[in-house]
């Protein structure tokens, strides 16, 4: 079976991991998976879906994109009898299965963790990216958490530049350290790449700063930094292996003509900290 794995964000660390794991599972299942990435362009993705529908692939897997942004093309695929599933996406008409982390929950976990570390009081900087629907949910979760924690204040916020979020976060953090270095207690990063950039800046310019950073994804580079007792103190890890695995299992069933028991499956998220990694930092 030809399976088209389609995303605009293949070079995003998390998306890339999901795709890689899914490709392995696909190989194991004997499918012929090919990855199509449109380098951030959703309009292009619409055209490419039309193409694979014309090529009559066996299934379409949309990764890290909201199918609602491509509703017509998804409908066309469904009409052609091609099953569409999503990973790290959303449910939508025509999408048989969405396997994801609950992004709002990821955001809540991150916010709770960070606020807890600050003792419910302090100033944070927020690195966000609303253009990605999932990442946007995390921002909404932060807003909710802020409502419950009136002593936490957002004193700086930055809309990330994508692609190139690490470098962007690094530069912005350098500047923020100059302007508000003593004010900021923590950095809330909507995912790990901005967290990594922030850590690089702090490590270079103010290594003894008490600022703590936390992000989302369980990005291996971030995990390494946590292990090395950097300023990154936590990441809410998404279980990409599990997500890709659930997606592959679901697709197996669908291709066998069955219906998945649920239209949306969540992979559990878990918090990674120095403690869970078994290191004790000073």
């Amino acid at each position: 079976v030809d399976v088209a794995v389609m995303t605009p964000y293949q070079s995003s660390v998390a998306t890339n991991q999901m795709i890689t794991v899914f490709e392995d599972k696909a190989k194991a299942a004997g499918w012929n998976a090919s990855v199509i990435d449109t380098r951030g362009d959703v309009g292009q993705l619409a055209s490419r879906i039309e193409d694979v529908v014309a090529a009559k692939v066996g299934a379409i897997v949309l990764v890290s994109v909201d199918p609602k942004q491509l509703q017509d093309q998804v409908n066309a695929a469904a009409a052609a009898g091609i099953p569409v599933i999503a990973i790290d996406g959303a449910t939508a008409p025509g999408v048989v299965l969405n396997v994801t982390s609950d992004n709002f929950e990821l955001g809540s976990k991150l916010s709770e963790f960070l606020f807890g570390k600050l003792g419910g009081k302090g100033n944070i900087a927020k690195f966000y990216y609303s253009a990605h629907p999932g990442v946007h949910q995390r921002e909404l979760a932060l807003d909710a958490a802020l409502k419950n924690n009136p002593d936490i204040k957002v004193v700086a916020e930055h809309y990330m530049v994508v692609p190139g979020p690490i470098d962007d976060a690094r530069k912005v953090t350098e500047d923020l350290l100059k302007a508000k270095g003593d004010e900021i207690d923590a950095i809330w990063a909507a995912w790990d790449e901005p967290a990594i950039g922030a850590e690089l800046a702090i490590e270079a310019d103010k290594p003894d700063s008490k600022i703590i950073i936390a992000g989302i994804d369980g990005n291996p580079q971030a995990v390494e930094m946590i292990k090395a007792c950097s300023h990154i103190k936590g990441t809410v890890s998404q279980d990409f292996d599990a997500m890709a695995g659930l997606a592959a299992d679901g697709l197996t069933k669908i291709l066998a003509g069955e219906k998945p028991e649920k239209a949306e499956l969540y992979a559990p998220a878990k918090l990674i900290t120095p403690e869970t990694l078994g290191v004790t930092c000073p």
Partner: protein, 309 residues
């Protein structure tokens, strides 16, 4: 040989289509797919036609992608606020026209290099777009009539294709048959000479930039209608591709000048390559390698026709 030299790039398109059709007769070569390609190229081609006008002047408008995004976000935001289509559509186009006039005035009246003026203006427009959208993708409130402007088909021809046909026809006539078109070529060929024979150089330049922005906004509206959502950087992909289409088109005909038929040809080449490679199941990274290689080959063809010159 003469065929190669004269119409090398056109020959290239024919060859590319032929190869894909042989490799995948059922899927690529089907009438439905070929029709679909005209739809897929339509928005890019509309932006590229606007870029052609400015390129005829020998200038760049780098704000096109920002204007595409702006038009999408502005329209959905207005729909969301309950405005009717009959107002939203012209208003968004008008806003783009104003943006184009600003670029044009900066370039024509204040002699800023168009590259820097339009890049800077594009940054400003991008900021406005983020401000209006809060950086998020906007979905809600889009009326179905509006969506119909960018999808579906009339008598088997996809609606975006019809838009493209209309725009291409109008602007081909404008560039090729009207005094305005001739003046643009004269200005682009030698601005000082155009000024010295009394052409309204500044006014014409401003009009060209304004039309370019207008077409970018039209593409943005159609993109939004097609996707049913607007993304604050949704136009990002159009910038380089639109100019690639124009430049490819410039290699298409003998004189090396930008032209509407040339630009259509360029956009078609780009669209056919992506469509064909995807249908053949070529993975993305290899698609990139092959796309680049095919484009270079398409332009080189003409050179070999020209050898011995």
């Amino acid at each position: 040989m003469i065929l190669l030299r004269r119409y090398g790039t056109l020959v290239a398109l024919v060859v590319i289509v032929a190869i894909f059709a042989i490799a995948s007769p059922g899927a690529f070569g089907s009438v439905a797919n070929l029709v679909n390609i005209t739809q897929q190229m339509s928005l890019l081609a509309i932006v590229a036609i606007g870029a052609t006008l400015v390129m005829v002047l020998g200038e760049f408008d780098l704000s096109v992608s920002a204007v595409v995004s702006w038009a999408g976000i502005a329209s959905v935001a207005l729909f969301g606020a309950g405005w009717p289509l009959a107002l939203v559509f012209p208003l968004v186009l008008l806003s783009a026209l104003v943006m184009g006039v600003v670029s044009g005035v900066l370039v024509a009246r204040f002699a800023l290099p168009s590259f820097i003026a339009t890049l800077a203006l594009g940054t400003v427009i991008g900021g406005l777009t983020f401000w209006v959208s809060n950086g998020a993708t906007l979905f809600s409130g889009i009326p179905p009539v509006f969506r119909a402007l960018g999808r579906g088909a009339i008598l088997g021809v996809p609606v975006p294709t019809l838009w493209l046909a209309g725009v291409a026809l109008v602007f081909w006539l404008v560039l090729d048959q009207t005094e305005f078109g001739r003046r643009l070529y004269a200005i682009g060929g030698n601005r000082e000479a155009a000024r010295l024979v009394g052409l309204p150089v500044r006014r014409d330049m401003v009009v060209a930039f304004a039309l370019c922005a207008l077409l970018a906004a039209l593409a943005g509206l159609l993109l939004t209608a097609r996707l049913g959502s607007a993304h604050p950087t949704g136009g990002g992909g159009y910038l380089l591709q639109a100019y690639a289409a124009v430049f490819l088109g410039m290699t298409a005909f003998r004189e090396g000048e930008p032209s509407i038929p040339g630009t259509l040809l360029g956009a078609a080449i780009i669209a056919v390559i992506s469509n064909g490679l995807t249908i053949l199941g070529v993975p993305s990274f290899l698609q990139d390698v092959m796309t680049g290689a095919i484009i270079i080959a398409a332009v080189l063809i003409r050179h070999f026709g020209r050898e011995g010159d």
